[in-house]
């Protein structure tokens, strides 16, 4: 139970940090913020990798591997698409691509 309490502290404090950091993002960048933070939520990959590495039952392995695939789509798709968007934001009409 004590471990849970510590985790809860971490969770709540991190939410406050999130509010502080993100409330300053301008409207212009809301979509990249969303896709970028979305990629970060793919951190579930860590959990997926851990459970996929155990050898327990076939069912468990299938669940875990699908979880790895899902999380990895989330991570790679999220970061790459965010980068693709952000490289388009230019201050002047720079047409070089």
């Amino acid at each position: 139970m004590e471990g849970l309490l510590v985790s809860l502290y971490v969770f709540v404090l991190a939410i406050f940090v999130g509010f502080e950091v993100i409330s300053k993002v301008p409207q212009m960048l809301h979509t990249p913020l969303m896709s970028g933070s979305n990629a970060i939520s793919g951190i579930t990959i860590v959990g997926a990798v851990v459970v996929a590495g155990r050898v327990e039952s076939p069912v468990s392995t299938v669940l875990a591997v699908v979880a790895v695939v899902f999380a990895m789509i989330n991570v790679v798709g999220g970061f790459v698409v965010t980068d693709r968007m952000l490289q388009m934001f230019k201050a002047r009409g720079d047409t070089s691509k």
Binding site: L29, I45, F79
Partner: protein
């Protein structure tokens, strides 16, 4: 490996998660300016790489085959999606990615559940609780996001779909879900109930997004974004991994902030958006087109529109979802540049909820190479409309409806709008006189200084470009 060496490894792995979480925070912070944003995103990606590599050192892992296979397949799909998605389809993309994140959380929790249910390890109350929460949040995020994706992709109706007894069933399901979840915390061995819990949570997600219409999508996507973060944090609780908890909490917070901004921009509360009070109100109005009768509007051809623009001193473009639908962003930019070459002051007014997700219009116009200093937020640009000769509304409707300012009976009363009607002349590009998503008639279209340019926005703008060349 001996005892102390494995202890050191554990500490190293823990520290790596801390570094990853710090990189996420710094990366998100850098997203606050277009100059540093790209670097920020890269920092986030590096953080993720560090977290994944550190996880591979975890000593619970005995087989790497499946992990590597999963990582390769997932990366390939993710990369393909990210490289091929059109900028106009970005809301669908984000919804889909959200769904995958939520689904992954649900599955990881499921895998943990199997271990406890099999009796290999005795369950503790806190672990069981977090597993159930993780399953519920993950499943709702997954199915809700898939429905949002299908709506945005127009695989299912983007309109408000009200199922019979919607609220009652949603509430009943919610209570049953909590009941089963609670029971499973105490009696985890019942596999049938566990599967039922998953199924009910998935149906909940569908019920939750189905009634929400297209124009409210920015709120729903923001909220699902928040859920996907919470789901990741819950997975962190299950696995007792603070790195996951911090990262998930950051995303959860980000989604909550965006949700609030979107609700404020529509002057509606979150429950109002989610439980469809909006739909009920307009439906009671006895048919959306009724109020349009007997009023006259003035239509205009591309030639006259081009003349109006060519002899203006200040022009403001007001893009909406219609711009995304007809993919007209490049044509808008081209006209903008032609006008600027004539010495005309050109800017773009961006309403916070224009489009289907927060910041949707900014991304489209950035793709078309519109310099971002020309994209101006509502609060700053509203005072400029008075001194504007021509405001060009492209596929926007409710966000420029003056009824929001004065008509207390209007469902959008109180919503902050772009004061387009204060410009000297307003040119509205629209397919027809049909009402917008909300079914609300727009008095702007009947204003005597408004000119309607009917047709697909892209084709209309191409015609205007041709005419501008001859002026």
């Amino acid at each position: 490996m001996n005892e102390s060496a494995s202890g050191i490894l554990d500490v190293a792995v823990g520290l790596a998660y801390l570094v990853a979480a710090s990189l996420f925070i710094v990366g998100l912070k850098r997203l606050s300016s277009p100059r540093t944003a790209r670097r920020g995103n890269l920092l986030g990606a590096i953080g993720m790489l560090i977290a994944i590599v550190a996880t591979l050192l975890n000593q619970e892992i005995v087989s790497f085959t499946w992990i590597v296979a999963g990582i390769l397949i997932g990366s390939a799909i993710g990369l393909w999606l990210a490289k091929n998605v059109k900028m106009t389809s970005m809301p669908q993309m984000v919804a889909l990615l959200n769904g995958f994140g939520g689904g992954a959380s649900q599955l990881v929790a499921g895998d943990e559940y199997l271990r406890y249910a099999a009796g290999t390890i005795s369950p503790s109350l806190d672990v069981q609780t977090t597993i159930m929460l993780s399953v519920i949040i993950g499943a709702i995020t997954f199915s809700g996001s898939i429905i949002a994706f299908a709506k945005l992709q127009e695989w299912v109706s983007g309109k408000t779909v009200v199922l019979p007894g919607q609220r009652f069933w949603a509430f009943a399901m919610f209570m049953v879900m909590l009941g089963i979840g609670g029971w499973l915390v105490i009696q985890p061995a019942d596999m049938t109930l566990y599967i039922a819990l998953n199924a009910i949570a998935l149906v909940m997600g569908i019920f939750f997004v189905m009634p929400i219409g297209g124009a409210d999508m920015p709120v729903v996507i923001s909220l699902l974004n928040s859920y996907s973060g919470l789901a990741a944090a819950m997975t962190g609780f299950v696995l007792k991994n603070n790195g996951l908890i911090i990262s998930g909490a950051l995303v959860g917070a980000s989604g909550i902030i965006l949700t609030k901004i979107m609700c404020d921009a529509m002057n509606r509360s979150l429950p109002n958006v989610l439980f469809g009070a909006f739909a009920g109100k307009t439906m009671g109005g006895g048919g959306p087109a009724a109020s349009a009768e007997g009023k006259t509007y003035r239509s205009v051809g591309p030639q006259d529109a081009a003349l109006l623009l060519a002899y203006a001193r200040k022009v403001i473009f007001v893009p909406g979802y219609g711009l995304a639908v007809s993919q007209a962003q490049h044509q808008v930019r081209e006209i903008g540049e032609m006008l600027q070459a004539r010495g005309i002051d050109v800017s773009y007014a961006i309403h916070p909820v224009a489009g289907r997700m927060p910041g949707h219009m900014n991304v489209l116009l950035a793709e078309a190479n519109v310099p971002y200093p020309q994209l101006i937020e509502m609060d700053q640009i509203n005072q400029d409309f008075e001194h504007t000769d021509v405001a060009v509304v492209i596929g926007a409707n409710d966000v420029v409806n003056p009824a929001a300012r004065h008509d207390k009976s209007s469902p959008i009363y109180g919503m902050p709008i772009l004061d387009v009607d204060k410009a000297q002349t307003v040119v509205v590009l629209k397919r027809s006189m049909a009402t917008g998503f909300a079914g609300i008639d727009n008095e702007l279209f009947y204003d005597e200084k408004t000119r309607m340019l009917f047709g697909d926005a892209r084709k209309s703008l191409l015609a205007v470009i041709q005419e501008l060349k001859n002026v």
